[in-house]
């Protein structure tokens, strides 16, 4: 889902960068306020962890492999969508500059898709569905699925606006592919939340895994 350079013309890419920068500034403010200021190094190391998580090969039912995004996981555990924005921004900078995975000019768009959309949809769908299911696992699954699916749709819309991929087919192919991958993202998010809530309940934003 990492859009490469040249697939979004420069003026549009600049607009995405500006929007992304606003969210990055907001997430920095979140880090200063909510993490009692100096805890930023902790989040930086966690970002390295999310990078490693994204590198884990995940089996997809028909034999190929995929990768996780981890935005919903980070947002749920740390209890804020801005955690995902902050972490995914760091991850995308490293992926873009060191590995060429996702372009530089379009990094703004990638941060919006994976960090902002992934984080906000992941976190708020988890919060929204929690009262319905009364357990953290089904909402975590939905959060993981939605964070990936909506981010993929946003990616298709951006490419359609850039004129580099037709809207209908983009929405269909990106949507279908990520709807399937999303099941795995959701499943892993739910299992991982279970593990974290059992092994280290204190690091969940709320100790019981229940959103406050």
């Amino acid at each position: 889902m990492h859009i490469p350079d040249a697939f979004i013309p420069l003026p549009q890419a600049a607009v995405y960068w500006i929007i992304a920068l606003i969210f990055i500034a907001l997430s920095l403010r979140w880090a200063r306020k909510e993490l009692s200021d100096e805890k930023i190094p902790l989040v930086a190391i966690l970002a390295a962890g999310i990078f490693a998580i994204q590198a884990v090969n995940i089996p997809i039912p028909w034999g190929t492999s995929g990768h996780m995004m981890g935005a919903a996981l980070a947002a749920i555990v740390l209890g804020s969508p801005f955690a995902a924005v902050f972490i995914l921004t760091l991850v995308l900078i490293v992926q873009g500059v060191l590995f060429g995975d996702g372009g530089l000019t379009v990094m703004g768009a990638n941060i919006i898709n994976m960090g902002v959309i992934g984080g906000f949809f992941g976190y708020y769908s988890y919060r929204g569905f929690y009262p319905i299911f009364k357990s953290p696992y089904a909402p975590a699954f939905i959060a993981g699925w939605l964070s990936l699916f909506i981010a993929a749709l946003a990616c298709a819309v951006e490419m359609a606006m850039a004129g580099t991929f037709p809207l209908g087919l983009g929405l269909f192919s990106m949507g279908l592919y990520h709807a399937v991958i999303g099941i795995i993202e959701g499943g892993i998010t739910a299992f991982a939340i279970y593990l974290i809530a059992t092994a280290r309940p204190d690091i969940m934003a709320d100790s019981t895994g229940v959103p406050t």
């Binding site: 040249a6 420069l10 190094p41 930086a44 490293v94 690091i203």
Partner: protein, 275 residues
């Protein structure tokens, strides 16, 4: 991608005129080249610009003394999504052209258009050039130098500190992943083994992911405590010493920037082959 990290680090520790250039110069040239190639509108002018830029890249790569295999090995990892998008272009009518000529008709009424093939080629040139410059930058510059270079170029202190910490721990987690994979392998667990139920495999992989999360969080806690003990606080930042650019850096920067700016401008004004 974690294994690529170690591979990449080996390349950056080699010695060559390109490796020894100041990181700032390399960052500026690579970013400028990418912005320039993206800024050229979608038109056939890109062939000339792309050829000149690629030649520039190839010269630098040759000067860096790295094997072309290193380049191709890294390129193969990056290409898939971009190539997928480019290959499918040939079947679409895109908004950058008005008339489309069919050059081939496939079953199910799928048509290939000459203009779309041209558009796909344009995208391919832009994509390859921008990816090549990133590969050059990251294969010849150590991550620490790149970070300090970015700091000297004005990247805010919040980012140099956090990115610096992140980069250092990437290697730690790289080894951690390697160990976890190896211990799963010694127990004959293969996540792609179809003989095992899918849910079981997913669960095990998910536990590995959850463990990585917890271990990185705990590493963060330990490091944070250790930093506090050493006087870390609100005003802490990565110390970056001032370092003036040497003469060879200035020469390369001026020549490189001139090439990156002049080529597209000349190509655009001298042959206005607008679609």
């Amino acid at each position: 991608m974690i294994e690529d990290l170690f591979f990449l680090e080996k390349q950056t520790y080699k010695k060559s005129p390109v490796h020894s250039l100041d990181a700032r110069v390399k960052i500026i040239i690579a970013f400028a080249a990418i912005i320039a190639i993206v800024a050229v509108p979608y038109s056939t002018v890109i062939y000339t610009v792309g050829a000149v830029f690629f030649l520039f890249f190839a010269l630098l790569w040759a000067a860096s003394g790295l094997s072309p295999l290193v380049y191709f090995k890294r390129l193969v990892v990056i290409l898939p999504f971009g190539i997928f998008l480019i290959v499918f272009q040939i079947f679409f009518k895109n908004p950058y052209y008005e008339n489309f000529t069919t050059i081939a008709t496939l079953p199910f009424g799928i048509e290939i258009y000459a203009e779309s093939v041209q558009f796909a080629t344009i995208l391919l040139v832009k994509f390859l050039v921008s990816v090549s410059f990133i590969i050059l930058l990251s294969s010849t510059t150590r991550t620490q130098d790149m970070l300090e270079g970015a700091g000297r170029l004005g990247l805010p202190a919040e980012f140099t500190l956090t990115l610096g910490m992140m980069l250092r721990y990437l290697y730690v987690f790289g080894y951690m992943i390697r160990k976890m994979t190896q211990s799963l392998e010694t127990r004959c667990f293969n996540p792609f083994d179809r003989a095992l139920p899918y849910r079981y495999r997913l669960e095990k992989v998910a536990y590995a992911v959850g463990t990585l999360f917890i271990r990185s969080y705990e590493q963060g806690e330990r490091t944070y405590m250790a930093m506090l003990c050493r006087g870390y606080g609100r005003e802490s930042h990565l110390y970056i010493a001032k370092k003036p650019l040497e003469r060879k850096d200035w020469v390369f920067l001026t020549a490189g920037m001139a090439l990156v700016i002049v080529t597209p401008v000349l190509a655009w004004t001298r042959f206005p082959v607008i679609l």
